[in-house]
Subunit: 324 residues, 2 copies
């Protein structure tokens, strides 16, 4: 087998003060130019790393001093030319991306936490319909759809944009983060699209240039794509696995819990119903202690009930009509 290099990328997520954050590093682009944000990454050391996720934990520890707890494999990215150095004789770079959930702590090295909605401003619906959507995205997608070669292509683009961005009467699906990013990329609306074409030495083919201000903060290589994958996956997982608790301190109020879920899912929830669900799904148990920091009536502190994992097979879903 010809050579390929295996890299490991980490999307490390924390939520503090209702802001979902990811750990980023600064990185010089391979072709030169100003430093960009990037996801932390490191190589797999085939000799020493017994498993992929051990390798990941190892270099995250080495680079940032952070000891990862919950880690899950996300996706493996292996398209050609993910790294422009490939076109100059570099090896094919295949990256296995991981999602890690931590409680925010200060990190050493050049790493820093960033609000992940800086990268995807259109994904935050907590304060209602995000402005960028109507201001920048929707108007830019029309010409993109119109610029398809054939009438069928126009129709398809139009429809795809509507579905994925929930434009017409269609509802917003919080999980389709990657599909949205990919449309923006295809339409040349994110800076990465132009950058990649130039780096690959292709002639300029993008219709209009990226809008000003650019749609979200760009990232190195295909890291924003990886990040989009992570966000979509995490939003999906929230619905059927109790992973939020990885992001919370051992004890928390129900509103804190709700705020974290809202931060990740990007939507507001109905408070009473949320607590009803969480309580009679048996996900939490009261500690009897109170938190006086609420500004109103003090809230009870709850903890995650690990036993749920035992009681209910999959806290969440089910097939239509399973016979029992």
């Amino acid at each position: 087998m010809p050579d390929a290099a295996i890299g490991l990328n980490a999307v490390i997520v924390a939520v503090t003060e209702e802001v979902p954050r990811i750990l980023t590093i600064r990185r010089e682009p391979p072709g030169g130019g100003p430093a960009e944000d990037a996801l932390p990454f490191g190589p797999l050391e085939p000799e020493t790393d017994r498993t992929l996720d051990r390798g990941l934990r190892r270099w995250v520890r080495e680079q940032t001093g952070l000891e990862l707890g919950y880690v899950e494999q996300l996706y493996t990215f292996g398209d050609r030319n993910r790294d422009p150095r490939e076109s100059h004789g570099g090896p094919r770079l295949v990256s296995v991306a991981y999602l890690a959930l931590v409680r925010e702590v200060s990190v050493s090295g050049g790493a820093r936490w960033r609000d992940w909605y800086e990268f995807f401003p259109w994904e935050d619906w907590r304060d209602g319909h995000p402005g960028v959507l109507d201001r920048s995205i929707a108007p830019a997608l029309d010409p993109w759809a119109a610029s398809a070669a054939e009438p069928r292509g126009r129709q398809e683009r139009q429809e795809r944009a509507e579905i994925v961005f929930g434009l017409g009467g269609v509802g917003w699906d919080g999980e389709r983060v990657l599909e949205r990013y990919e449309i923006l990329y295809e339409a040349g609306l994110v800076p990465e699209a132009r950058r990649d074409r130039i780096e690959r030495g292709e002639k300029e083919m993008l219709p209009s240039g990226t809008p000003e201000p650019p749609l979200g903060r760009p990232m190195s290589l295909d890291h924003r794509r990886i990040l989009a994958t992570a966000l979509g996956r995490l939003r999906g997982k929230l619905k059927y696995r109790p992973v939020v608790f990885e992001l919370l301190p051992p004890t928390f109020t129900l509103l804190q819990l709700q705020r974290v879920v809202e931060a990740l899912s990007g939507v507001r929830l109905h408070k009473q119903n949320f607590r009803r669900l969480v309580e009679n799904a048996g996900l939490v148990e009261g500690t009897g202690r109170l938190d006086a920091e609420t500004g109103g009536r003090p809230a009870e502190l709850f903890g995650f009930r690990r036993e749920v994992l035992r009681e209910r097979p999959a806290p969440g879903v089910g097939l239509p009509g399973v016979r029992r």
Copy 2:
């Protein structure tokens, strides 16, 4: 980066006559001995394969003549010593596994279709509680739990076995295929466990030897683990994405549809409720034509309504109390 080789594995699934099948090949074990079943696999050609899944489609076509349609990335397996040749100076083998859904066709080459419950007989609950569970598995897990070094370990193993196999009053969770396989492996109850130890030159440490007859048909390397991952994932996906239709002819009766879902999920469904769900989720539309082959009243033929993908964001789930 030291060298690592990238392989691609395919779990190719079809369902015919209510039997879920996967495509297997015969393969000589690296250490010699009789041929074993294996998943089809091939290398990524970094020079020619623009993306990982194109590489997959290419060699599947070359090896079996099969043209894949629906393909989804499953998981990347990269533990050390997945292939025993690594311990003899071979490169670290990292495999990206894919799940493909096809309509069964005859295949060329050495490939053949096999009922996937041959590999996991305990996963088929369509005719009620599978016999192997009480006959072989449950009795063998008790000594395994008891053999843990510390009391806490015993407790943990006991509990884990109960949860994962739904032994006590706990319910059966069809998606935990991998966890079940892993327990059986750890407990040394599948032939692969012993084989791998011997191949790695470890001294025999397994408590009792694998039971006779062995639990399910063994596979090469860690392929049964990959298969378990695929089954679990597919079962999960069935619940929230209309993927079944990839396995069905363009037109089908509702009972055919139900049988395919049952074959995959391994449980029986309530007929009337199943059709109610499927119909008013808008997943299918009647064609007006009838199928007279039923043996009873003729059934209407239905087709998949592709428009659902457009209408409902995610045919399936939702967060507790999303405000609208």
